[in-house]
Amino acid sequence: MKAFTNFTGLVAPLDRANVDTDQIIPKQFLKAVVRSGLGRGLFFDWRFTPEGKDNPSFVLNQPAYKGAEILVARVNFGSGSSREHAVWALQDFGFRAVIAPSFADIFFSNCGKNGLLTIILKPAEVDMIFDAIAKRPGYKLSVDLAGQKVSDDEGWSAHFEIAPHAKRVFLEGLDDVALTLEHAAAIDAYERAHPVPYPRA
């Protein structure tokens, strides 16, 4: 995984609660056997009309949000299916961070494995960001992971929490498997005491 670096990016507002992973990337894109190129399926049913044309009312089709790197949404973002394709699609489309008042567990965990930063802010802070986007075209936020802070260029900022272990993984771009294999001796010992419980076929 690539190490996370601080950045300042355009913010796109997705004013919906309970955005599920079926919406983030519909089933037909789950037939992929590689991680790359899934951005074309991102929010497919919202982005495109039944005839396959761009749906002009969908936020990510609006010129103002072209090139957005931060997505802001309402509560319980990423609910439903465990499909990691949702994370790969968001990243492939260009997003590096998602801000919401809460995230679903599996999506949150999947983001952490891929370096897509999930930032939990208070509902009032998220409201503030939606308001700022509406009032200030081209609204950008700066993300400071080490400092656990998002801020704009008019002096507004908000602190966010992140578990120390997750923060380290993001900042150093650590490979989970390699980290775990440092504990190989402990796993070996556990396995000696706990044999496979299934009879051999």
């Binding site: 037909q28 991680r35 609910s79 499909r83 989970d176 498997v177 775990t180 396995e191």
Partner: protein
């Protein structure tokens, strides 16, 4: 191993995989030159994108075919047991785990699928993971996990006649919402839960994720032991009795304090029907479509209005007046033998309404075989249902079984998200008896009055 503030490294006893969320994990394993650490603890099935007809013919969809072929190759290359389309053990991953006795009390079980909590019905800690974690388990047989909060959901008393386990879990989700149990492992307790059969407990635990919980479980009891005895992958003879004695010890201590608690009375639960685009948007069959304008919470009002627009429903409409086009009986929630038998019991000697297309997709080849022995296939076929081969089918519509835009479906599956069963399709989640009755009547009916129809 666990240090304060750090996730713990936990050992995974059973890893189940399927064709959709595993290819990228194997790709990464190959790229890193890694082997599967304990092949005997991983089992694979084909379920998500396979056709439910013409099994003996090649898969028509090239992408699905590729995924299936890759699953076969990956299992061959890495030495894993695969229940492929020719196997009598093939089926939906969360149906076959318990059915084959792979799922056992006290185990840690993961699968790249959010409905993995199903296995919690056997007193296991089971939860869904993403593909990166699938890779991690393949390579290390372990996972880093933060300890979840504990949530006791207690259902006291006795469910009324005609009220199913599906109604119980839908009522719970309706009460706490789709993020009501985020960050929690739920234990379902109380006399109404204890009274459920093993298959009914699976239905309840299956939908834990629809309330945001990754894990949901019921402590093992004598029913669990009786269910498991004699199954393919459980210990045999004296070893089984020894294991069973140990399994019965896996239960919450008397007087244990949970982080959160919810108590429901079973008698208050009526048959449920979802009206919106997430499983928390649910109401009693005797109810009416709610009015978003009457909702005080801004987010709830906007979500409800968007849901009703998608579902093409008007506030105040009686649930029983909603006409349907399709019926789907199947999915890891409700495709087991008791689900099919209960549905068959409703439709026996009746005909599916002319305007309705209805299908039954058994959860596994063993369920299908048993149903056919019982003659359930004939009951369904004579009523006008289609009788299919096992798989996930129209629960998520990765195979050809999908709704057309605008079609309205009574479905025994677990998600009514926009487009879940097909772009523009409108899903109402119900239990198997309610789905069966809706197929006959052409609209939702209160199953408690079915005898009068």
């Amino acid at each position: 191993m666990e240090k304060p503030g750090q996730p713990a490294l936990i050992y995974i006893d059973l890893h189940l995989i399927h064709e959709v969320t595993s290819p990228q994990a194997f790709e990464a394993m190959r790229n890193e030159g890694r082997k599967v650490r304990v092949p005997a603890r991983t089992f694979a099935t084909l379920d998500h994108n396979i056709p439910t007809v013409d099994r003996d013919r090649p898969i028509a969809d090239p992408d699905s075919k590729l995924q299936v072929e890759m699953m076969k190759k990956n299992c061959r290359d890495f030495g894993l047991e695969l229940f492929d389309l020719a196997s009598p053990d093939q089926g939906i991953v969360h149906v076959i785990g318990p059915e084959l006795g792979l799922t056992q009390p006290g185990m840690t079980i993961v699968c790249g699928d959010s409905h993995t909590a199903t296995h919690g019905a056997m007193g296991a800690l089971a939860f869904g993971i993403g593909t990166s974690e699938v890779e991690h388990v393949l390579a290390t047989q372990c996972l880093w996990q933060a300890k979840p909060k504990t949530f006791e959901i207690k259902v006291n008393g006795k469910l009324a006649q005609g009220v199913s386990a599906k109604d119980m879990i839908l009522a719970i989700i309706g009460r706490i919402g789709t993020d009501g149990a985020t960050g929690c492992a739920v234990e379902y307790r109380g006399s109404a839960v204890a009274a459920l059969s093993m298959e009914e407990r699976m239905t309840v635990c299956n939908m834990s994720i629809e309330a945001g919980a990754r894990a949901g479980m019921v402590a093992a009891d004598q029913k669990t032991i009786d269910y498991l005895r004699g199954r393919k992958f459980v210990p045999k003879g004296a070893d089984f009795e020894k294991a069973a004695a140990r399994w019965l010890e896996f239960k919450t201590d008397d007087g244990a304090k949970f982080d959160r608690e919810l108590v429901l009375e079973a008698k208050d639960i009526a048959p449920q029907v979802t009206w919106g685009t997430n499983p928390g948007m649910v109401i009693e069959v005797t109810g009416k479509i709610p009015d978003p304008a009457a909702m005080t919470n801004d987010t709830a009002r906007k979500s409800a209005a968007a849901a009703l627009e998608y579902m093409a429903l008007k506030p105040g409409t009686r649930i029983e007046d909603i006409r349907i086009d399709r019926v789907f009986i199947g999915s890891c929630t409700n495709s087991r033998i008791s689900d099919l038998a209960n549905a068959a019991n409703i439709i026996k000697g009746r005909k599916v309404a002319n305007s309705v297309q209805a299908m039954v997709v058994p959860g596994s080849q063993h369920v299908k075989e048993e149903a056919e022995k019982m003659g359930l296939d004939k009951i369904f076929l004579e009523a006008g249902f289609e009788w299919r081969e096992s798989g996930c089918s129209m629960c998520l519509g990765m195979n050809p079984d999908i709704l057309k835009p605008g079609e309205r479906c009574a479905s025994t599956s677990n998600r009514n998200f926009e487009g879940r069963q097909g772009k523009g399709g409108r899903t109402h989640l119900v239990g198997p008896e309610m789905a069966a009755a809706a197929a006959i009547a052409g609209h939702f009916v209160d199953i408690r009055n079915w005898g009068n129809h």
